[in-house]
């Protein structure tokens, strides 16, 4: 254990990236994640890195493409409207099999929406941010400490599977301060970047990084190869957390900031004698399907809680083959649900307040 520091979530994203050996950040400011750029603008030069404010989000994501093509670790960050702008670049990065990290500190939408916390980019992040057959890893921290841990993981996962990894946070996690300890990162064996388009003194054939494949057969094969890797990710990289699910009858499924609020509601429900539990996906892709399917054998009902209009509900239904009813409670537009609101929903599902 290192010494605990009190930091904002946004600053922790930056510090964890630096500690993961990332030296390149390309971004464009947007509330509620701008403290990240501010932090890196101060810190990156001190470690010989570069924090560059691009002229737009589109530009920033393409700088990430170029930088990672050379084999360097790089990342970009934005909030919801800015992430939409990056979608084309993300698809090109996927098509080029480049590793990078993308941070989305979500705010309410659609459109410019608002600046308060939301989780309404769940479908965009987990299904298809850009065009084409594709996936990328999506990590959803619930605590500032978990931002530190997952940001370190994100760069390793990106390198191992040659894929973008998204850290999907929200405005509350970005803005809040909690104690954080940076010493808890898992060590992984990383592959050499033999594909990188970097200087090599004419010792080998030059590498080309590209996402254009004119021949359908060749393109099909690159997609199939990529989906082999996706299969490995689904088999090896699922992360989740459970709380009081052993004997739960009503099981909440929630991620990120909402999961910790739901946890308070579960505790309160237990005090009232209601057997509630919480299942928290940490990886939103790959989704913990098997684990939820196993839970469906034990619990009688699921309750999805999100800060959106129910974007994860179908994932729970699919994972459990609709064997149990799946209900939903959510707030959206930047409103954070309270533990009492969630408790009221649990009581309703339990047959009304007693």
């Amino acid at each position: 254990m290192g010494e605990k520091m009190l930091m904002k979530g946004n600053e922790v994203i930056g510090e964890a990236a630096i500690r993961s050996g990332c030296r390149y950040f390309f971004g464009y400011p947007i509330t509620p994640q701008t403290e990240l750029s501010e932090y890196l603008a101060k810190k990156m030069p001190k470690v010989g890195g570069l924090c560059l404010q691009a002229e737009s989000e589109v530009s920033a994501i393409n700088m990430v493409l170029g930088c990672t093509a050379s084999g360097e670790r790089a990342f970009t960050s934005s909030s919801s409207p800015g992430i939409s702008l990056k979608s084309e670049g993300v698809s090109y990065i996927i098509g080029s099999d480049l590793p990078c990290v993308i941070v989305n500190v979500q705010r309410g939408g659609p459109g410019l929406g608002g600046i308060q916390p939301a989780q309404s980019d769940y479908l965009q992040a987990t299904k298809a941010l850009g065009h084409g057959d594709q996936h990328f890893i999506v990590l959803a921290p619930a605590y500032v400490q978990e931002i530190a841990t997952l940001m370190g993981e994100a760069f390793d996962l990106a390198d191992i599977y040659r894929t973008p990894v998204m850290l999907l946070a929200d405005g509350a996690l970005g803005q809040m301060m909690e104690p954080v300890d940076f010493e808890s990162k898992k060590e992984r064996v990383l592959p050499e970047k033999t594909w990188a388009a970097c200087g090599h003194g004419n010792k080998r054939e030059h590498n080309i990084v590209n996402s254009l494949y004119i021949s359908p057969e060749v393109l099909e094969q690159t997609v199939l190869d990529r989906y082999e890797r996706y299969k490995m990710i689904e088999e090896n990289e699922v992360q989740y957390d459970e709380y009081m699910t052993e004997d739960a009858e009503i099981c909440i499924v929630a991620y990120g900031i909402t999961a910790r609020i739901a946890k308070t509601a579960v505790k309160a429900a237990r005090e009232k004698g209601i057997k509630a539990g919480l299942f928290r996906p940490i990886t939103l892709w790959p989704y913990p399907k098997k684990e939820l399917a196993a839970l469906a054998d034990k619990v009688s009902k699921f309750l999805v809680v999100e800060m959106n209009m129910g974007q994860m509900v179908d994932d729970v239904k699919v994972a459990t083959d609709c064997r149990r009813p799946v209900e939903f409670f959510g707030r959206t537009g930047g409103v954070i649900p309270t533990p009492n609101e969630i408790l009221a929903k649990i009581e309703e599902m339990n047959g009304g307040a007693k």
């Binding site: 009190l6 909690e178 910790r260 308070t264 954070i336 533990p339």
Partner: protein, 177 residues
């Protein structure tokens, strides 16, 4: 244990005060969180921050029903007085808020923090005086411990502020209204 809401004008040192409570809690290995309002506030606009000090992991970082409320201006007093939990405490700066509370199920604490700051050559440090008063009345932290904790949070290039912070805290500790 304690859900604290600090509310006032931007520039009054609300966020700073909240951070000091959180730092003092963290150094005692408590679970703590600090969440600022981050709307289009600016100096002179309204501003608040949710501070939680707990013995177990924190759920929602947003304080909607505070055990302790600091209303550092009249709009905050009006807006948040009704949200304080039964048996809770409401602190206000009586030199800025010319109001008396009407609820009978909470305790009110009035301190002319801004006046006290001005009288003692500590203009701009009403927030630290208020912190001292809150720490004393709530018993959140030992006074000597909190003084040390506040001092430890002062960066080297602002070392000259250690003495005035200490003085301001002591005024808060010593105030009997």
């Amino acid at each position: 244990m304690s859900n604290i809401l600090l509310a006032g004008f931007g520039g009054q040192g609300i966020l700073f005060a909240g951070k000091q409570i959180v730092l003092a809690g963290m150094r005692q290995d408590k679970y703590v969180s600090w969440l600022p309002s981050y709307g289009p506030e600016m100096r002179g606009g309204t501003c608040n921050c949710s501070v939680i000090v707990e013995d177990e992991p924190i759920g929602s970082p947003l304080v909607t029903t505070p055990d302790v409320l600091l209303a550092f201006n009249a709009p905050s007093f009006d807006k948040f007085e009704s949200t304080v939990v039964k048996g809770g405490m409401l602190f206000t700066d009586s030199s800025l808020v010319n109001k008396k509370g009407t609820r009978e199920d909470i305790s009110y604490f009035y301190i002319p923090a801004t006046e006290l700051a001005n009288e003692n050559g500590l203009t701009g440090m009403a927030n630290v005086i208020m912190l001292g008063y809150i720490v004393k009345k709530t018993g959140l932290f030992d006074e000597e411990y909190f003084k040390e904790s506040l001092n430890a949070g002062i960066p080297a290039h602002k070392a000259h502020l250690a003495e005035v912070n200490k003085k301001a805290l002591e005024i808060g500790f010593g105030y009997e209204g």
